[in-house]
């Protein structure tokens, strides 16, 4: 039996070595784990988002890395399944990843406790727990962009400021029936009370590809504005149904998940005028994107189709990595190599007014505030591109923070 056991152990060891082996650079590389959902629920965004992340990291590496340290990525598909995400996470952690991005709400939620105890930085831009903005409770989790609550307040505030005020209006929230879809409801309720408007929520079942009954009902409610709150295929269905049911385009406002693809899918010029919350600028007119074009895309080192460069989700991907690299740079400057999760966390907390050279709102992350200020802007589809209608701004952060505090307290109690 003994030789067999030894053989078994040998095989296992070899497999482990083989799977974990990565190329050695001169200076110790920094490892970012991008363990995302490429095959299931988040396919509508992962492709472009991930491409943006990889292209940006390539750009960083092409231009000397962080203080000479190259950034290595550990990429896995988790298929949105927590157990696969956790395995990938444990493996990545063992390989020395200091930052992890699941880009999947269920996986991020399942991993929260672990990253907190393992002291690995987890970024949860535009997904995951909104209350992780509370840096004291979630020291290693960084939403670093506007949470859904902040998005809802910005959208409501836009109506308030630019579309004839909120008072006395009927606002309809059409949302996917999931925790994500219901997330803005408490904040909007508070706002409704404060601003004296009427709010009604309409839920449709996931994945939201068929919503006709919801909209027949909604039309009879005669709302002044409709906020659509879904993701993926359901979004373009919502837009179509809204237009079909006589909601004027300019009165349709969307959560951040509305992009070029959706405009294409809605077809024609039907989506012109539809508004959305925007966390990161779109298009290729940003210096950072120009750099990527020059150093990465043109030499043919891009991750995917060059057509995707500059799309909404691509740019969001770029922005997440820009923030992360900035944090790593700050941490390395301050504490020196090797980079650890703890140092990286502190690096994040040193970020001040970082705007990725104008592509995103200037964010400031502190030990208390991991959201970075909750900035965003509203943009509208003009038939070809998303056109910003406002400057970067944040609204009603007091209400948002009330919600953050409440849920963070819940988390400390085990929720």
């Amino acid at each position: 039996m003994k030789p067999f056991t030894r053989w078994l152990a040998g095989m296992a060891g070899a497999a482990a070595l083989g799977l974990s082996g990565t190329a050695q650079a001169e200076k110790e590389p920094i490892k970012f784990a991008l363990l995302q959902d490429f095959t299931a629920v988040y396919t509508f965004v992962t492709d472009e988002y991930h491409q943006g992340q990889r292209d940006y990291l390539r750009l960083v590496n092409e231009t000397g890395g962080i203080e000479g340290h190259m950034i290595e990525t550990i990429v896995r598909d988790t298929a949105n399944e927590p157990q696969r995400g956790l395995e990938a996470y444990n493996r990545a952690r063992r390989e020395g990843a200091v930052l992890v991005d699941f880009f999947s709400t269920p996986v991020s939620r399942a991993a929260v406790n672990r990253v907190l105890s393992d002291e690995v930085v987890m970024i949860t831009a535009l997904h995951g727990r909104g209350d992780a903005s509370e840096g004291e409770t979630f020291p290693f989790v960084f939403p670093m962009m506007a949470t859904y609550w902040s998005q809802a307040t910005v959208l409501a505030d836009y109506i308030d400021q630019h579309q004839g005020g909120l008072e006395g209006k009927r606002i309809a929230l059409v949302h996917i029936d999931s925790p994500f879809g219901r997330e803005p409801i408490p904040v909007l309720r508070d706002l409704a009370e404060k601003k004296d408007f009427e709010l009604r929520a309409f839920a449709y079942p996931s994945p939201g590809t068929e919503q006709s009954a919801t909209w027949s009902d909604l039309r009879r409610y005669r709302p002044d504005h409709v906020i659509i709150w879904g993701a993926g295929g359901g979004q373009q269905v919502s837009v179509r149904e809204a237009i079909r049911n006589g909601i004027r385009q300019e009165n349709i406002l969307s959560v951040v998940w509305l992009a070029e693809t959706d405009a294409r899918n809605v077809g024609g010029n039907h989506m012109n005028g539809v508004k959305r919350f925007e966390a990161v600028g779109t298009g290729t007119d940003h210096p950072i994107i120009q750099d990527i074009m020059e150093h990465v895309i043109e030499p043919g080192r891009g991750q995917g189709s060059a057509n995707n460069v500059g799309t909404t989700y691509y740019n969001i991907g770029v922005a997440t990595m820009a923030v992360a690299v900035e944090a790593a740079r700050l941490a390395m400057q301050e504490f020196g190599a090797p980079l650890t999760g703890e140092k990286l966390r502190d690096g994040f907390r040193m970020i001040e007014n970082f705007d990725a050279r104008g592509m995103m709102p200037p964010i400031t992350i502190t030990a208390d505030d991991h959201q970075g200020g909750g900035y965003g802007r509203v943009s509208a589809w003009n038939g070809e591109a998303w056109e910003p209608l406002t400057d970067w701004y944040a609204a009603h952060q007091d209400i948002v923070w009330e919600e953050i505090e409440k849920d963070a307290a819940g988390f400390r109690e085990g929720r």
């Binding site: 482990a16 490429f38 095959t39 399944e81 990938a88 925790p179 219901r182 995917g304 929720r415």
Partner: protein, 357 residues
């Protein structure tokens, strides 16, 4: 070889029904148990917590389902919902201050009682229709969990497991979580092995094979169908609780979705319907294969050995997984357990080629 059938004879009824009458089998079992017990000492925490631990827990879940699908012949495509009921019950109980040991019991009972409602459909229909009925119930349970914040845990729909102890052992370290899971899986395994050789198991099989013939020898088909659902759901509920406390440590509704139900069925079938060892093999196959494939492909991709887009690379495990399920079912409908059995028989009669049975 190490298998030797000669010299094994039974002079007492009890010994003829032993679990492992063949000495070599018994030795292998002892070895495996020893390895399992020592695992925390020689396995790195990655393999312990990301492979062994989920594998054991999913095996327990697959075994629970085996009791229902394999032995009692009642198909169940909503077993993830049963696990979910157990997980949520145990968390709410422990948060209410109930000791973990009793919370496990409560989880099992709650799952068992709701599981019996699932079983009510089995009194009317079987086969494909039962598949559909349980599938619909899975959806209903999921919907209730998602839509009742008091169950799912408010806006974030997440509940973390509180720190607990089991028989004075705090469940915090990787090793303690592992031993907890191991203990439960061993209990479930023994239970299933013994059910197979006692009147309870025989009655289940009788109802499965021919319920009318079971009735004429005094087995109440209704009762045993419901008992099967009760017992399997009880085991499933406790397994769900173990899954929550020992592995996820925070539960969300997505962890118990429809695809998990399908995976559990796949474990049972690919492993070999009704086989205990099959549940182990099937759980390993279904749970770990996509992970290993993903890792192998990612490894190859790191060196750019496969010049295809990452989108395609990411989808390959899905294809291979599907293809392998198809492959196993086509090649050996009795599953991995049968393949193992063939191998074993080969060694039993080695160096000869033919087997007697």
């Amino acid at each position: 070889m190490f298998y030797r059938l000669s010299g094994i004879k039974h002079t007492r009824y009890a010994s003829s029904r032993a679990l492992w009458p063949v000495t070599a089998d018994r030795r292998i079992m002892q070895l495996l148990v020893a390895l399992a017990l020592l695992a925390p000492f020689f396995l790195s925490d990655l393999y312990l917590t990301s492979y062994m631990l989920p594998w054991l827990i999913w095996t327990a879940a697959a075994l629970s389902l085996t009791l229902l699908m394999g032995m009692a012949g009642q198909l169940h495509f909503g077993f993830a919902a049963v696990l979910a009921i157990g997980a949520y019950t145990s968390i709410h109980l422990t948060r209410a201050g109930v000791p973990f040991e009793f919370a496990l019991l409560g989880a099992g009972l709650m799952s068992a009682f709701i599981g019996v409602i699932f079983g009510a459909a089995a009194l009317r229909v079987k086969g494909l229709y039962l598949v559909m009925a349980t599938l619909a119930m899975q959806y209903l349970v999921e919907w209730v969990i998602i839509n009742v914040p008091a169950i799912s845990g408010g806006a974030q729909a997440t509940l973390s497991t509180p720190d607990v102890t089991f028989l004075f052992m705090p469940l915090q370290s990787d090793a303690s979580l592992y031993y907890m899971a191991l203990l439960w899986t061993v209990v479930v395994t023994l239970l299933l092995l013994n059910i197979k050789r006692t009147s309870f198991g025989r009655a289940l099989v009788a109802v499965r094979d021919k319920d009318f013939a079971a009735a004429v020898i005094g087995v109440d088909p209704v009762r045993y169908k419901l008992l099967a659902f009760f017992a399997a759901s009880f085991l499933g509920g406790v397994t769900g609780a173990i899954l929550a406390f020992c592995y996820y440590q925070a539960v969300t509704p997505e962890q118990f979705g429809f695809n998990v139900s399908i995976q559990l069925v796949a474990m049972v079938l690919v492993g070999g319907l009704g086989s205990v060892i099959g549940a182990y093999l099937g759980a390993g196959f279904v749970l770990l294969l996509p992970i290993v494939l993903t890792n192998v492909l990612a490894f190859l991709a790191t060196y750019e050995w496969i010049p295809i887009s990452f989108n395609l690379i990411a989808h390959i495990p899905l294809m291979v997984y599907g293809a392998l399920i198809i492959g196993v079912l086509l090649y050996e409908p009795l599953g991995l357990a049968k393949i193992y059995d063939n191998l074993r028989k080969y060694f039993v009669v080695w160096p000869f080629r033919h087997t007697q049975s």
